[in-house]
């Protein structure tokens, strides 16, 4: 039972971490809390459904579907990121943080309908990839290989981003921009390009999260709504702008949810938001402080 | 010439700071600072950057708590109080960079200032009654700002903003007014007329005025007492003639050492 909860929780935490990582990254660099992040998740899921579907139609090997999902995430990022960051957000740079949240809220509304217009209102099921990696036997219980692979991907993403930020030259430049865009600019950094890159990475991660979970859910309108609020809870608990925070936050939320679902279902949703409220009340910067809370 | 109003020596000083000390890490911002100010005095605080003038102002207005020492206002100990409580006890200040509300009109700004000093803020009494507006306009006229009453603060030129900042501080009829570099950011030929306006507006008020100044001409003309700071310590305290001739002041402040 405990193992089930653990694996269940960690699996949930994995895709949640991938999504939250993108959200926290965008906040860390651009200081924008992006409500539409969940919409990019949805776009990733829909795109994956489409790509996998095309793969099946073209009778490419089933294993290709995994590549298709990755490509879907890349496609979403390549199209949506420049459009959003350059075409929309840039217009409002320099404005109040809450105002930018509202801009992203407007974007969320727009993208809700865009997905409906492109993909229709009916749900998509793209469950074949889920079977692809078979099952893993652990003791008496059998676990789906896909879930375990998802954990691996999440860990890989986290490590990659961490390593990229802390161990590469470009990463150090990004860190400089996070610390102070003005100083970075005065030292010759192309801050605008850093913003674009960070945002694109953020969108990619959201879309990847969506693409990878597409086989596990029914992809339909409204998918983004739940993801938005849960990923917000994660980054608030973990601390806005912190990678470790996103990881720990995702684990906490994932495990709390798994625990609640298996032992005390009445508490499931409630617990996540209580945690979010408690953190905001007692330690608003989150568990891993990156920014000073706006508090008097 | 500034109007000099000395209170009787028997009354408690408006402000009595004794033994104030404050450190920020390795930086000594205040070292055993003791200053008494009587009602109606016009005192200028001079000193180089980092000498401790603004730290003193911040401590007196409750923004900073001294590490050691006492501050009393009219005999009452206010050392531990914050800006709001100290304001309620008759202290007001203006700011080197005027602290205003950009989207409000000049008139509304004064109305807000007057209301804040009144105590409880009524949730139904109108803010813009004729009586209040008249009082606000009267105050603005004393600073020659009447013509700007309907303009929005964001549209005002720098000198006007400074005057408004000071006018707002006066709404509560304070007994101690601290002006933080009232003429800074104002062009040289505007400084003296501006100080004239300010001092004229203050002429009728039994308020002690401390102003932080860098311009020795202004200091000489408008204050009857000069307190010089250096390295967190008070190095001179006397009439402008005395203070400006002081050896240490000449070396560390005015830079005219022989």
């Amino acid at each position: 039972m405990l193992l089930t909860i653990l694996i269940d929780g960690v699996t949930y935490a994995s895709w949640l971490f991938i999504v939250a990582l993108g959200l926290t990254l965008v906040f860390g660099v651009l200081k924008i809390l992006n409500i539409a992040h969940g919409s990019f998740y949805a776009l990733g899921a829909y795109a994956a459904a489409s790509f996998v579907g095309w793969g099946a139609t073209l009778q490419i090997a089933p294993a290709f579907s995994l590549v298709a999902m990755l490509l879907a995430a890349v496609a979403v990022a390549a199209i949506m990121a420049p459009l959003t960051e350059r075409g929309l957000l840039r217009v409002f740079y320099g404005r109040d943080e809450v105002l930018l949240v509202l801009v992203t809220y407007a974007l969320f509304l727009i993208l809700e309908d865009v997905t409906k217009l492109v993909w229709g209102a009916n749900p998509y099921y793209v469950s074949e990839p889920y079977q692809l990696l078979g099952n893993v036997q652990v003791g008496a219980q059998s676990y789906v290989g896909y879930d375990l692979a998802l954990v691996a991907v999440a860990v890989a993403c986290g490590l990659a981003v961490w390593w990229g930020l802390n161990r590469t030259r470009s990463g150090k430049i990004v860190l400089a921009v996070i610390h102070s865009p003005e100083i970075a600019a005065s030292m010759g950094v192309n801050v605008s390009r850093v913003y674009t890159f960070a945002f694109m990475l953020g969108v990619f991660l959201a879309a990847l999260g969506g693409a990878l979970t597409a086989p596990m859910i029914s992809v339909q309108p409204g998918v983004s709504v739940g993801v938005i609020i849960v990923s917000f809870a994660v980054v608030i608990i973990g601390g806005l702008g912190s990678i470790e925070g996103a990881a720990i936050g995702a684990l906490i939320v994932g495990l709390a949810r798994a625990l609640a679902v298996h032992t005390f279902p009445a508490v499931e949703l409630f617990s996540i938001y209580v945690a979010m409220a408690v953190v905001l009340i007692f330690r608003p910067e989150g568990l891993f402080q990156r920014m000073q809370a706006r508090k008097i | 010439m500034s109007a000099v109003m000395k209170s009787s020596t028997a009354a408690a000083p408006v402000l009595s700071a004794s033994g104030l000390s404050k450190r920020f890490g390795a930086v000594v911002a205040a070292q055993d600072v003791s200053i008494d100010v009587a009602a109606g005095e016009r005192v200028s605080l001079i000193g180089g950057n980092g000498a401790g003038k603004t730290t003193f102002v911040n401590m007196v207005t409750g923004y900073l708590k001294p590490d050691a020492g006492r501050i009393t206002l009219g005999g009452q100990d206010v050392t531990a109080l914050g800006p709001r409580e100290i304001t309620r006890r008759g202290v007001a200040r203006s700011f080197q960079i005027p602290q205003l509300c950009a989207e409000m009109t000049v008139l509304d700004s004064v109305l807000v200032a007057a209301s804040c000093g009144e105590g409880a803020l009524s949730p139904w009494r109108p803010a813009r009654t004729s009586a209040r507006k008249d009082a606000a306009l009267a105050l603005l006229d004393r600073f020659a700002l009447g013509g700007h009453a309907r303009r929005r603060v964001s549209e005002l030129p720098g000198g006007v903003r400074k005057l408004l900042d000071i006018a707002m501080a006066l709404t509560g009829h304070p007994r101690l007014l601290l002006l933080d570099e009232p003429t800074s950011g104002v062009s040289a030929d505007e400084k003296l007329p501006m100080m004239d306006t300010i001092m004229a507006a203050l002429a009728g008020e039994p308020v002690a005025v401390l102003f932080v100044e860098h311009d020795m001409d202004v200091v000489d003309r408008y204050s009857d007492r000069v307190i010089a700071f250096w390295s967190g310590k008070v190095i001179a305290d006397g009439s402008p003639a005395e203070a400006l001739a002081d050896e240490q002041v000449r070396r560390y402040v005015t830079g005219t050492a022989r």
């Binding site: 009445a266 | 709001r84 304001t87």
Partner: protein, 343 residues
């Protein structure tokens, strides 16, 4: 500037109520219902506008909306209190009481953290409501038609009766808000929005103003919730969901923060757009709303852009040569904590 007086505001308000009642009498039933919902939502939005005047945006108004709705619904279903004239104010009062313990806490938060905390609280309530089977779980439950002043309402009369109830209730609250906005505290709220440090230095208690605003907004939200629940004949946890709170914020932005009337006009417009769009453009009305919101944010400085100052206009106070405020040029400007002073 016109001399504001409480009496004049009340008179104008009463006249407007009378006018709306007269007009409403002649409207077709579906339009009466639409207007009723617009007024109910408008009151909730008014709460957000009130908070925005103090410089904070609540993303959790759904919480008090739901509390008011459930209070009225439970009062009717479980306690047998059917009079709307009791249920509606009760909804507002109970919502205010629920919000009151949180008010001093929230009075210390600004910007994103205020938004997130209000959001979190509303989602906690949502979580509780969804899982509570006694309250109907995620489906909620139905509410019987209320009586008004002891009189039962017939089917035929219900359209106008609920409309009239909504008009009177929101009219009274709108008058109260108009008086508040023009009051001393209302004006100081606007100052707090722009420079709370200065307000403190002038002797005004910022925390008291913010806490008071929060409770007032809760009362408004709860009243709107009670009205909505009684008019719909139904209550459900979705009242507290974040997307519902988002709708109220949306309406508040359209309205701008200067006018009470603008709030109801915006609410009515939104209600009309929502109804028609659901019928004819189900897949594009959110898109239209989103675009419209962007246009408003971008191009209507008086109503919207002035809600948030570009913080680069604000210089560090009390510092001068001292505390160097590194004005960050990140895309979003966050309010920095109060600067300390170093000599």
């Amino acid at each position: 500037m016109r001399e504001t007086s409480v009496r004049r505001t009340v008179a104008a308000g009463v006249a407007t109520i009378a006018l709306l009642l007269a007009v409403g009498w002649m409207l077709p039933r579906w339009l009466q219902f639409l207007a009723t919902m617009a007024f109910a939502n408008g009151v909730v939005t008014l709460g957000i506008v009130l908070l925005m005047r103090g410089g904070v945006v609540s993303f959790g108004q759904g919480m008090v909306f739901a509390v008011g709705g459930y209070a009225a619904a439970l009062g009717s279903n479980r306690l047998g209190i059917t009079d709307a004239l009791l249920l509606v104010p009760a909804g507002g009062l109970i919502a205010a009481l629920v919000a009151a313990p949180f008010a001093p806490l929230l009075a210390r938060y600004r910007g994103i953290f205020f938004a997130m905390l209000t959001l979190a609280l509303s989602m906690v309530l949502y979580g509780v409501l969804v899982k509570s089977s006694t309250l109907g779980g995620s489906d909620g439950f139905n509410v019987a038609r209320p009586t008004i002043a002891g009189q039962a309402i017939s089917n035929a009369a219900s359209g106008f009766a609920m409309y009239a109830l909504a008009v009177v209730v929101t009219g009274v609250l709108a008058i109260a808000c108009a008086v508040y906005f023009a009051s001393v505290r209302g004006l100081v709220s606007l100052a707090v929005r722009e420079n709370e440090l200065r307000v403190e230095y002038l002797g005004g208690s910022v925390r008291r103003v913010m806490a008071g605003n929060f409770v007032a907004a809760a009362f408004l939200g709860g009243t709107g919730g009670a009205l909505a629940a009684l008019s719909l004949g139904h209550i459900e946890p979705e009242f507290s969901y974040w997307t519902r709170s988002g709708e109220f914020v949306f309406a508040a932005i359209l309205a701008g923060h200067h006018g009470v009337i603008a709030t109801f006009v915006a609410s009515l417009l939104l209600e009309i757009v929502r109804s028609f769009s659901n019928l004819y453009f189900p897949n594009t009305w959110q898109l239209a709303l989103g675009v419209f919101l962007l246009v408003v944010i971008r191009f209507l400085p008086r109503g919207i852009g002035s809600l948030w100052l570009d913080r680069r206009d604000r210089d560090a106070p009390a510092a001068g040569a001292q505390a160097e405020e590194l004005q960050s040029q990140a895309p979003a400007r966050n309010g920095t904590t109060l600067p300390g002073g170093a000599a």
